[in-house]
Amino acid sequence: MSSPHLAMASSVSVIMGKVMLALIPAIAAYVYVFGPAILATLALASLTALVSEAIMLKLRGVPVQPFLMDGSALVTGWLLALSVPPLAPWWLVVIGTAFAIMVAKQLYGGLGNNIFNPAMVGYAVLIVSFPVPMTQWLAPETLAAQHLDLGQQLAYMLLGSLPEGIRLDALTMASPLDTLKSQLQLQHTVREALALPIFGSVGGKGTELVAAAYLAGGAYLLQQRVITWHVPAAFLGGLVAISALFYGADADRYAAPWFHLASGASLIGAFFILTDPVTGPTTPKGKLLFGAGAGLLTYLIRAFGGYPDGVAFACLLMNLCVPLIDMYTQPPVFGKKGG
């Protein structure tokens, strides 16, 4: 054994555990807003993630147990579960999670070696392949004309069957970002669009509560030093900066910065997705660039792209740039300043 002979009591599984703990408030808010179906989605995603991981580890000839226990597959599964619509059918969750783990993570070499954020790869595959179920968002409980209980939600997820007399249209609607986009295309102003009942005080009704819970979880991760402030600050800063620019230029056509902050995947992205260490830069300056770039891209996709939200694609595009960013943002070494 060579020095150092001491080590801090920390491990990959402890870090992953803290990330999952930080997601609990958001999950609670989710249940409050959309009903308990998300718990089933989370369980299904967890199971799929672990099984996919185990199969791939076995095929790769790598010891299964330590890698299965590190918790990274569970985090991927949870992030994907929280990204799909609340009443997503079971196969959507399974396909997305399995693709995330098997292709985006394990085919690249497993933990620590993947270039792209696995959960976002899974999300991207789903939204490109299955756009319809991926954009049918369950209306928040407060808005829906009819309610489903847990059994009915499960029946729909697993079997696709709805109780007598309830039609899918009555239950679902587009997400707030999606709604705004289609309203703008119908030549309504932002002000008119935001008057619809789906919108709340800053973002979507209900979803803004979930967003606030992500913020709380993020604060916990910062306090625990699981993540640093750089990526969230730069991402949210970038998003605010560019949305303020357009909002200032034409408030009728472009939503306000606070709307963008509270909508879609902005806050889960800032604290849980873009902060993935494996697929992000390691240097402080690099993290700032990475976050700011993702913020700008997210806005551009939301405002001018064909997809309702842009966090996933912004994340993947910025993942591509990470090696370059790291290379050009090396901090000065001790005693080498200016040299």
């Binding site: 054994m1 060579s2 020095s3 150092p4 002979h5 001491l6 080590a7 801090m8 920390s10 491990s11 990959v12 402890v14 870090i15 330590p66 890698f67 590190d70 990274s72 497993g110 933990l111 620590g112 070696n113 640093t228 260490p277 494996v278 992000g280 390691t282 240097t283 790291d326 090396q330 901090p331 000065p332 070494v333 001790f334 005693g335 080498k336 300043k337 040299g339």
Partner: protein
């Protein structure tokens, strides 16, 4: 209050210092035998001055400093030299080196000694006296102090930093020395300042040692010289030379340079103490204070005669039954001793008894998840995860480009790594590979230049033969007029470009040989060394005989 600066990173391992500071420093009793290595410092080992059977006095020089970077070795007590032989010395790989096996007679009879009249000695003479007193850096590196005791081209230094930070867990030898012998330390600092003409003296002590800070402050008050005793924040590795200088002055010693290049110098408090003993009493370095801690019943600091075996020393503190080995140095940068049959040397500041409970084996390493905690902890501001990647891929060029050699191997990166990757080991491996390659390259360069010179010589001989032949033919043709041009060339070789090239090549080869050829007389057994001495003697005689025959 002095404005302090901070260095990047650092960690806070549990310090475990209290346990060994409850009792004062004790003098370790003389063991039955001492194993005194002749190479206890950086640079060249000392040349042995004694043989088996010699009787020596305490403080008698038994090894002479050899070369510029070297220091003398002295008998730690009076007794009889039993043998000069190879014996394992403190080194992670269990390397053996030439040691003087000394059997103490228990009388502790000193060699004749007395204070140095330093006021009337010129600085150079005083430095050589310190080299002959075996004074080296006792903070851990054991660099011969006299080399650092010159202000260099600047004539005077701006700042003299005295290192009493002692940032590694467990180690308290400097702490206890400062508490108990503050006046002597201050005297030593005064002498060092005198030699370096330093304008300002800063004594940095981590703020987890309030007693030592108070003791030194009182000693400074009693003295005549102004010095600042500065408490510095407790952060490992705050006692690293470069880190301490940064904290105290805000200056960064440039990469690849030494503190003297920015007008500073840094000495450990224990070193200052030995400077004082050497000058005020003429006592060479024959003992040092060593912390014995860890899995022992009675952790404590001992003043240990150099050459005392770790087994004998640890026994004084009663190691517990489940002791599984010993670390020399601290738990962050020290190394595990291959056995306890290894002597304490000048660099040994601490012996830690290991047990499974105190130092559990790390869990198996997981892949790097690029979390960057290592970069946040690295005091050299490196990117350890990148260096790890390059070292593992054997991409050594890239590792050097990412400043591998600025790594001080403090262990902060491994300490914080959630994947338990032995990062420092990877860097040591990469450095070792790069050094080996460098040596190979130098050897190849040497071989090539020798080969080129041989080719040149063969060509020259051929040309000369041809010229001779040509001359002979010419002479045979016309007795009266030999070719004037050729004669000129022969008379004045400097004008002949070919000859000049040959001369230059010879000169090049000579200097290269002088600078590159490794000394093959280091690390030899005493028999071999004696044989070499005999051969040298014979050669000298033959040379003299030859001279006698030619000269008269």
């Amino acid at each position: 209050m002095r404005k302090l600066h901070r260095f990047h990173g650092g960690v806070h391992p549990p310090d475990r210092k209290a346990e060994s500071t409850r009792l004062p420093i004790a003098r370790a009793p003389l063991p039955r035998r001492l194993v005194v290595p002749l190479h206890q410092h950086l640079g060249h080992g000392a040349k042995p001055l004694v043989q088996a059977g010699d009787r020596v006095l305490k403080g008698q020089m038994i090894g002479r400093a050899e070369g510029y970077v070297s220091a003398a070795i002295h008998a730690p007590t009076s007794g009889t030299v039993r043998a000069l032989e190879m014996h394992p010395v403190p080194h992670p790989s269990g390397l053996s080196d030439l040691c003087v096996m000394l059997e103490p007679d228990g009388e502790e009879r000193w060699v004749e000694r007395g204070p140095l009249d330093y006021a009337n000695l010129d600085p150079q003479a005083l430095r050589l006296k310190l080299r002959d007193a075996g004074v080296v850096g006792l903070g851990g590196a054991a660099f011969p102090s006299y080399v650092k005791l010159s202000p260099g081209a600047r004539q005077r230094l701006s700042t003299l930093v005295i290192n009493g930070a002692e940032c590694e867990p467990y180690i308290t030898c400097d702490d206890m020395l400062m508490r108990e012998r503050a006046d002597e330390i201050v005297q030593g600092v005064r002498l060092i300042r005198l030699m370096l003409h330093a304008e300002e003296v800063l004594i940095g002590i981590e703020d987890n040692k309030p007693e030592a800070i108070a003791a030194l402050r009182n000693a400074v008050k009693r003295g005549t010289l102004r010095m600042d005793v500065v408490p510095v924040p407790t952060v490992y590795p705050g006692g690293g030379e470069r880190q301490l200088i940064k904290v105290l002055t805000g200056a960064e010693v440039p990469s690849g340079k030494r503190p003297v290049d920015i007008g500073m110098a840094c000495f450990n408090v224990h070193t200052a103490y030995t400077v004082h003993r050497a000058v005020a009493f003429g006592e060479p370095v024959v003992s040092r204070v060593v912390t014995v801690a860890g899995n022992v019943l009675a952790p404590r600091n001992y003043e240990v005669p150099l050459g005392m075996r770790v087994a004998d020393l640890a026994a004084l503190a009663s190691p517990l039954a489940d002791t599984s080995g010993y670390l020399m140095g601290g738990p962050m940068m020290g190394f595990e001793l291959p056995s306890a049959d290894i002597p304490v040397v000048k660099a040994s500041n601490c012996i830690i008894a290991k047990s499974q409970a105190l130092f559990p084996a790390p869990p198996p390493a997981m892949p790097c998840i690029r979390c960057g905690r290592c970069a946040q902890a690295c005091p050299a501001q490196l990117q350890p995860m990148d260096l790890f990647w390059f070292a593992r891929a054997r991409n050594f060029g890239k590792a050097q480009e990412y400043s591998l050699f600025d790594c001080i191997e403090c262990g902060c990166c491994s300490f914080v790594c959630p994947s338990h990757i032995p990062l420092v080991q990877y860097y040591r491996f990469a450095k070792g590979e790069i050094w080996a390659k460098e040596r190979e390259r130098k050897a190849a360069d040497l071989a090539r230049s020798r080969h080129e010179f041989r080719q040149l010589r063969i060509e020259r001989d051929k040309q000369e033969r041809l010229e001779k032949l040509a001359r002979k033919t010419a002479a045979a043709r016309s007795h009266a007029a030999p070719a004037p041009a050729m004669q000129e060339a022969a008379a004045n070789p400097a004008d002949d470009p070919r000859k000049a090239a040959i001369e230059a090549a010879i000169e090049r080869a000579r200097t290269q040989k002088a600078t590159i050829t490794p000394r093959n007389v280091d690390n030899l057994t005493p028999e071999k060394q004696a044989e070499i001495a005999r051969i040298e003697e014979r050669r000298k005689k033959i040379r003299e005989m030859a001279r006698d025959r030619i000269e008269p």
